[in-house]
């Protein structure tokens, strides 16, 4: 299977969108392109399963390598394991849903859609890359369009938010780049992840450059206290950009923390684990408490993303098999859930022209579909069984509990306690927004979701429910990748 298709299709679609005329053409081309990506990712899933079933147990499948800049040993090297396949599926679903909810996006629709597709391209490339420099290239590619998306099509203090987001993510990338150079020189001049995993990296290099990489990627994943771009960025972004930002961008960082920082430098990961765990626990609990006080729906979801992404970092920091597994599950689950949440908030905002919970109320009566979607997203966020978050969170909890030691136990208990706070803020938000009497008489004329909005919501809900009801297929998909991760960690004396 030619993985480069995942880069070619968005590129071709983006160019085609730029060449077409008007909103109507732009959206249909984008829809076709993103539908193609989704189909392609299903084909990938199927082919991947076939290969594995046929007994192909190599670390990465469908590898392709082409020398890009030989003097610096930079290759265009791509390949997938189960974790990347799952991330690609997530990206495809969210991009399609994002295109659908932006169906009437104007003005400059062409530019909007093509930027969205370039973001997708960056994410696909990032998840496919096996070469650190290529990976970095795609990471950058998925930052810059966000600045434009927020600055041009955003709402509220959009210039401030766009600038803040771009600056903070850029400093994250700068740190990542320093880390990459450290690895390159510390390991005998290679950017290749698979090669780097073979060579022992000295303790000094690990100790110096692990923090660069982990903090750099961590900024993307709302690592406390570098999470402050999240609330502003998310709340100013247009709906599709919010979905992409929270659904995929934050996962780029998490994936980098796992695949690059922790995988390549496991000894340093173990050394810094207590710090990571403390920061993750703070993010989880403090994020949840801060969410409780928010009044803007987008701020609620943004702060809750800080709290939920804390679970990912907690799982990575705990370094037990189940915890890492839970972290990966949480990446996917949170991506779908938060995209659904932002989609429903966007639909509400488009109609009611406000996102303040105290001005909304009784929406279930006037727009039952949107309200139901909102409540489903909320229930997923508070970890209801049958929906994806539950699976991810309990896996993190069980995995974290495997780590004996009072501090680790305490962190786990605090993380568990956050599910109660989550219930408090989610139920408050949904009680005030969708339940109760219709607050504003003007709301009674509002319409329910249109077909494209319904389609987007159903797509995301389906993903959430499929993972929540039958997590075993996803777990089987991820298993070899995580096992290989743990074996590598074990070889370098990380875990017994």
């Amino acid at each position: 299977m030619n993985l480069s298709l995942f880069i070619i299709i968005p590129l071709v679609t983006a160019v085609a969108v730029m060449c077409c005329r008007g909103l109507r053409q732009a959206r249909w081309i984008s829809l076709a392109g993103s539908l193609g990506q989704l189909l392609l990712s299903f084909v990938l899933l199927f082919r991947f399963g076939q290969e594995r079933a046929a007994g192909n147990s190599s670390r990465m499948l469908f590898e392709y390598r082409h020398s890009w800049f030989a003097a610096w040993h930079i290759d265009y090297h791509i390949g997938v394991d189960g974790i990347s396949v799952a991330m690609i599926l997530l990206t495809a679903v969210i991009v399609l849903a994002g295109v659908l909810v932006s169906w009437n996006k104007g003005p400059w629709s062409k530019e909007f859609f093509s930027l969205l597709l370039i973001l997708a391209l960056g994410a696909y490339g990032f998840f496919l890359s096996l070469d650190l420099f290529t990976m970095f290239f795609f990471l950058e590619l998925s930052v810059i369009p966000k600045y434009l998306l927020i600055g041009i099509w955003g709402s509220g203090r959009k210039e401030y938010s766009a600038m803040k987001l771009a600056l903070m993510l850029m400093s994250g990338s700068a740190l990542v780049f320093i880390g990459l150079l450290g690895l390159y020189y510390g390991s005998g001049h290679s950017f290749d992840i698979l090669q780097l995993a073979q060579v022992p990296i000295s303790a000094g290099v690990q100790r110096t450059f692990f923090p660069c990489l982990f903090i750099g990627f961590g900024i993307f994943t709302a690592l406390f206290p570098l999470h402050t771009w999240v609330p502003d960025g998310h709340s100013s972004a247009p709906t599709a950009a919010s979905m992409f930002l929270a659904g995929i961008s934050m996962k780029l960082g998490a994936y980098g923390c796992l695949r690059v920082a922790t995988y390549l430098m496991p000894d340093a990961a173990r050394e810094y684990a207590p710090i990571i765990i403390v920061l993750a626990t703070i993010a989880i609990v403090y994020g949840a408490f801060a969410t409780m006080m928010q009044k803007d729906l987008k701020y609620i979801n943004a702060y809750s993303s800080v709290s939920h992404c804390g679970f990912i970092l907690l799982g990575i920091g705990m370094l037990t098999r189940a915890a890492i597994n839970g972290a990966v599950l949480q990446m996917i689950s949170h991506g779908l859930m938060t995209a659904l949440f932002f989609a429903s908030i966007g639909m509400i905002y488009d109609r009611a022209h406000t996102r303040m919970v105290d001005r909304l109320g009784g929406l279930l009566k006037v727009m039952p579909f949107i309200s139901t979607i909102f409540v489903i997203a909320g229930l997923c966020s508070l970890g209801l069984p049958g929906l994806s978050s539950f699976v991810a969170e309990i896996t993190v909890f069980i995995g974290s509990w495997q780590h004996p030691g009072t501090m680790y136990r305490l962190a786990t208990i605090l993380a568990c306690a956050s599910i109660v706070i989550t219930a408090v803020y989610i139920l408050r938000a949904s009680a005030q927004t969708v339940m109760g009497p219709v607050k504003d008489p003007q709301f009674s004329v509002l319409t329910d979701a249109a077909w494209y909005e319904r389609l987007a919501s159903i797509l995301l809900v389906a993903g959430i429910v499929v993972i929540g009801v039958a997590p075993f297929w996803l777990n089987d998909l991820l298993k070899p990748g995580i096992d290989a991760f743990m074996v590598h960690a074990g070889q370098t004396g990380l875990l017994k």
Binding site: M292, L382, G386, I394, W401, C416, V424, L427, M435, P471
Partner: protein
């Protein structure tokens, strides 16, 4: 070995109902959504009865009894791995059949069936009729899944799902702010308790190295390596086993509305009355009792302190709830406190019990009381539903003299009141006697509490009964004076009367079931014989309670008011349910919101983010400072150039000289 594959259909049928009605109940299936939901639960109920027949059967031929023994053995009818964490540690979806789970599927599916039928009449004409049945089906699915769980995490999954369906149904009238608040409260309070449950599971599974009930119980009741490790580790002076079990019990106490986590139950009465009958009286609220019973061997054999907690919490809840019930005027709230009190009985019965043989009387009595209580309490709630349907009020003060208008409801309600008061030969008598006997044999203090509470129970139930059906013509006039109501609900439909009759027959006859031959702590049938002399005290006390209620509320009089003002302060304290709600409100509003949440949000905006903004401003300030250097003036550049040269020259001379 009999074929038990069909058992999986018992929960799956209501699930199918939920999916179909959830997707199409609003439009396409709207007309017959009630029939669809009821039909599916009817099928599930029939299958449950068949399963019970097959499992218990007749004596030694029964499927539950292995050859050569007389005990009922647990059977794992189905099992597949749902989510695996590490070898040995996985969540399995399984179907576990043992005496208590078989008893529970019968109870749950039958009460659910009655409630489904009752709702056909009661909820008729509701705008969201299909959604209502979808939620009822979701609840039935979750509850049936809960009782059949063979894996502690599977139980937790269904445990959360029943909580969610309870939340959805309490908030069914979502445009009433009080209903929304009540649903929120129920969810959050039980969620808080579930946190204990979750951590308890983490502790037990970490040391037990399994999530499977059978293996877990085996490992923690025999001197296995797992048992030694969990009992040798301790925290704050108690072994981790005690901690684990107590935390699990906290989860059970939240769901079962034990003091002090009971605050959600009275408010939960905001839901439609049939829902209260099903969820908040008969099935979901006894899940905590079921959970303790499920882990009973571990509690009893390995950890007496945790079992002591169960006993005392149960007894205290039974007493305090009965006291609070005596002053309430909303009939559903009286019934809610009464439910809490009766669950307290079940809890302390487990708490005083031992494992195996005759010593296991308390366990058996607890399950028996769960069984009989489900019947008569559901009946009481459905009667309340008929009354509310007629009177359009929950307030007892607005009622009176309804016995002529609702003769059938009157008879059914009387039977249920007699059953709950423990008057022979109604069902409650038998189960309560056995509970009291078990308490007498092991703990006299708890016996005293139980005995006193049974007198209170009779008093408050008959206070309710006399206020509604006797006490002058007050309510008659009001009902007759409301012409609209009289016409619309002139007669109670068959769909509402039928469940009343069925449940009343149950309350009459269920006590005669030789329960101890089926459900015991170790599966071995035992013979129970309560001495006649033992029954004298509780029955006499109950009769005294009824007499007092009749004297106070039998006719219109100002006796209740005079009595209330005679004990003024105490009455107000009880009437406001000891101000427990206010204490909770203080903790959540003042402490969690104002002292934790608000500062967290403030710090984030002003300190953490302020730091980031400060960094940006600092950078901007530095650049503003040095940007003047590139002024474009030739003279300036010449100055910098020669200053630089001079500086370098000095530097070089300095180096060279050294």
């Amino acid at each position: 070995m009999a074929n038990y594959n069909y058992i999986a259909w018992i929960p799956l049928l209501p699930l199918a109902g939920f999916v179909l009605l959830g997707l199409f109940g609003r439009r396409r299936f709207r007309g017959f959504s009630g029939i669809l939901g009821t039909g599916l639960i009817l099928a599930a109920a029939l299958l449950s009865l068949y399963a019970a027949w097959q499992y218990f059967g007749a004596g030694a031929g029964a499927a539950g009894v292995t050859a050569g023994g007389s005990a009922y053995k647990p059977i794992l009818a189905m099992k597949f791995t749902w989510l695996s964490f590490s070898p040995g540690l996985s969540i399995d979806m399984s179907v576990l059949l043992d005496p208590i789970s078989v008893m529970m599927i019968v109870v749950v599916s039958l009460v659910s069936l009655m409630v489904h039928i009752f709702s056909l009449g009661y909820m008729k004409g509701e705008e969201r009729f299909g959604t209502y049945y979808a939620f009822l089906s979701l609840f039935s699915f979750s509850m049936l899944g809960l009782v059949l769980s063979g894996n502690i995490f599977q139980l937790f999954i269904f445990w959360e799902l029943v909580g969610c369906s309870s939340f959805l149904l309490i908030g069914y009238y979502y445009d009433r702010p009080s209903a929304v608040a009540a649903s929120k409260k129920a969810f959050i309070v039980t969620r808080f308790a579930d946190l204990g449950f979750l951590i308890g599971i983490l502790i037990l599974s970490f040391y037990g190295e399994t999530l499977d009930f059978g293996t877990l119980i085996h490992r923690l009741t025999t001197p296995s390596p797992q048992f030694l490790s969990i009992t040798s580790a301790s925290f704050l002076g108690f072994s981790l086993l005690s901690w684990g079990l107590t935390l699990v019990f906290i989860g059970g106490a939240g769901k079962s509305a034990m003091f002090p986590l009971h605050v959600w139950l009275p408010d939960a009465m905001e839901g439609p009355t049939p829902v209260s009958a099903l969820i908040h009286a008969a099935t979901m609220v006894v899940a905590g009792v079921y959970l303790v019973a499920r882990l009973f061997p571990v509690f009893s054999l390995s950890d007496p302190p945790a079992l002591g907690v169960v006993a005392y919490v149960g007894a205290f809840s039974a007493l305090i709830a009965a006291i609070m019930a005596c002053t309430q005027t909303d009939i559903k709230r009286v019934l809610a406190y009464s439910t809490m009190s009766q669950i307290g009985y079940m809890m302390f019965a487990l708490g005083v019990s031992k494992y195996g043989g005759e010593g296991g009387l308390g366990y058996m009595a607890s399950m028996f009381h769960l069984f009989t209580h489900a019947g008569f309490k559901a009946l009481l709630f459905l009667c309340a539903g008929v009354i509310i349907h007629r009177v359009h009020s929950n307030e007892m003060n607005a009622m009176g003299g309804l016995r002529r208008q609702l003769p059938l409801t009157h008879i059914c309600c009387l039977i249920a009141c007699l059953a709950i008061s423990g008057i022979p030969p109604f069902s409650g008598f038998f189960s309560k006697e056995e509970i009291l006997l078990a308490a007498w044999q092991s703990n006299k203090l708890i016996y005293g509490v139980g005995l006193f509470t049974s007198g209170l129970t009779a008093y408050y139930m008959f206070r309710l009964y006399f206020s509604i059906f006797w006490r002058g013509p007050h309510g008659v006039r009001q009902a007759a004076g409301d012409p609209g109501a009289g016409d619309a609900h002139g007669s109670t439909p068959v769909s509402m009367n039928l469940p009343l009759v069925v449940l009343a027959l149950g309350a009459l006859l269920a006590g005669l079931i030789p329960f101890s031959h089926f459900v015991t702590s170790d599966g071995e049938p035992i013979d129970t014989h309560t001495p006649l002399s033992f029954s004298i005290a509780p029955v006499a006390l109950a009769l005294a309670g009824i007499g007092l209620a009749a004297w106070l509320y039998g006719t219109m009089s100002d006796r209740p008011r005079r009595l209330a003002s005679a004990i003024g302060g105490l009455y107000r304290l009880v009437y406001h349910t000891f101000y427990i709600d206010e204490i909770y409100a203080f903790i959540t509003k003042k402490i969690l919101f104002n002292l934790v949440g608000r500062p967290a949000a403030w710090i984030d905006r002003n300190i953490v983010d302020g730091l980031m903004n400060g960094l940006a401003s600092f950078t901007a300030w530095i650049s503003a400072l040095i940007k003047g250097m590139q002024s474009g003036k030739m003279q300036d550049y010449a100055l910098y150039f020669f200053t630089g040269i001079a500086g370098l020259a000095v530097l070089f001379i300095y180096i060279w000289k050294n």
